[in-house]
C-alpha cells in the first residue's frame, strides 16, 4: 500500500469516529434541552432529537466523502501526515460549525417556546369591572378579579 491509500484510510477512520462522537454528545446532551422546550413531552423531544442527529450525520458524512480526494500525490510519510492533518482539520472545523449551528437551532426553539408563556410586558394602568353577557344575553355583575 502506498502512502496515499494509508492517508485515505486514516482520514476516513478518524473522521467517522469524530462525527460519531460529536453526534453522540449532541444526542445525549441535547435531549434535556428539548424535553424542557417541549414542556416535558419526552416522546416528542426524543423524536426531534433523533431527527436532528440524523441530519447531522448526513451532512457530516456527506462532507467527509466529498472532501476525501487529495488532488496531489504523497511521496513520503511526512507529506502523508501533513495532508491528513489538513484534511482532518477541515473536518473538525465543519463539525464545530455544525455543532454551533445545532446549538443555535436549540436556543431558537427554546426562545420561541419561552415567548408562548411570556407574561404581559407592561403593567396595567388599572383595573375595572367587567360585565359579560351570559348564555341568556343578560349582563350579570362579575366580581373583581385581581391577579
Amino acid at each position: 500500500m502506498n502512502h496515499i491509500v494509508v492517508t485515505y484510510v486514516l482520514y476516513i477512520t478518524v473522521s467517522v469516529a469524530l462525527t460519531i462522537w460529536v453526534a453522540h454528545t449532541l444526542h445525549k446532551n441535547g435531549r434535556v434541552f428539548l424535553v424542557d422546550v417541549f414542556h416535558g413531552n419526552e416522546a416528542l423531544a426524543d423524536s426531534v432529537n433523533h431527527l436532528l442527529v440524523v441530519g447531522f450525520y448526513l451532512i457530516n458524512f456527506g462532507y467527509v466523502s466529498l472532501a476525501l480526494k487529495l488532488g496531489y500525490s504523497v511521496a513520503s510519510a511526512q507529506e502523508a501526515i501533513e495532508a491528513l492533518s489538513s484534511k482532518i482539520g477541515m473536518v473538525l472545523v465543519v463539525l464545530g460549525g455544525m455543532h454551533f449551528f445545532n446549538l443555535y437551532v436549540f436556543s431558537r426553539i427554546r426562545r420561541r417556546s419561552a415567548l408562548l408563556t411570556a407574561p404581559p410586558p407592561v403593567l396595567p394602568d388599572g383595573c375595572t369591572m367587567v360585565r359579560e353577557p351570559d348564555a341568556a344575553g343578560q349582563m350579570p355583575y362579575r366580581q373583581f378579579q385581581i391577579r
Binding site: P120, D125, R131, I146
Partner: protein, 118 residues
C-alpha cells in the same frame, strides 16, 4: 388571560385599518374589538372612563385590567404570535419612551387619514 378587548376608535380610518390587520394575525391571546364610546363598551365596562377611551387606545383583559396609550399598543402586539418578541423588546426602559412618542404622534395624526365622526 384568554381574551383582550380592544376599544378602538370606529370613526377613524387608520384605526379600522389597524383593526383589520390585527384581526388577520395569528394570536396567542384572542382579540375582541368593540368601538370606543359605544353602548356595548359602556355595558361591558360600566366603571371605565369612556371619554378617555376615545382619546387613547384602551385594551381591557377579561379579568378587568386595562392598559392605555402606548401600553395598550404593546399589549396588542404581545397578543400576536409574530410580534410578541417585539412587544417585549419595546417595553424595555430604553425603548419605551420611543414607543410612547411614536404612539402619541400617530394618535395625533390619525385625524388626517380620514375621520367621519363628530
Amino acid at each position: 388571560m384568554r381574551t383582550l378587548t380592544v376599544l378602538f376608535d370606529a370613526n377613524c380610518n387608520l384605526c379600522c385599518r389597524i383593526r383589520n390587520w390585527l384581526q388577520a394575525q395569528t394570536k396567542y391571546v384572542d382579540l375582541d374589538f368593540v368601538a370606543a364610546g359605544s353602548a356595548e363598551a359602556a355595558a361591558r365596562y360600566p366603571l371605565l372612563d369612556h371619554a378617555a377611551t376615545l382619546k387613547e387606545l384602551t385594551v381591557v383583559s377579561d379579568t378587568g385590567e386595562y392598559w392605555r396609550g402606548a401600553k395598550a399598543w404593546l399589549i396588542c402586539l404581545w397578543a400576536l404570535r409574530d410580534y410578541r418578541g417585539w412587544a417585549i423588546r419595546f417595553s424595555s426602559p430604553e425603548l419605551m419612551p420611543l414607543a410612547r412618542r411614536f404612539v402619541v404622534r400617530v394618535s395625533s395624526l390619525r385625524f388626517r387619514f380620514g375621520y367621519h365622526g363628530t
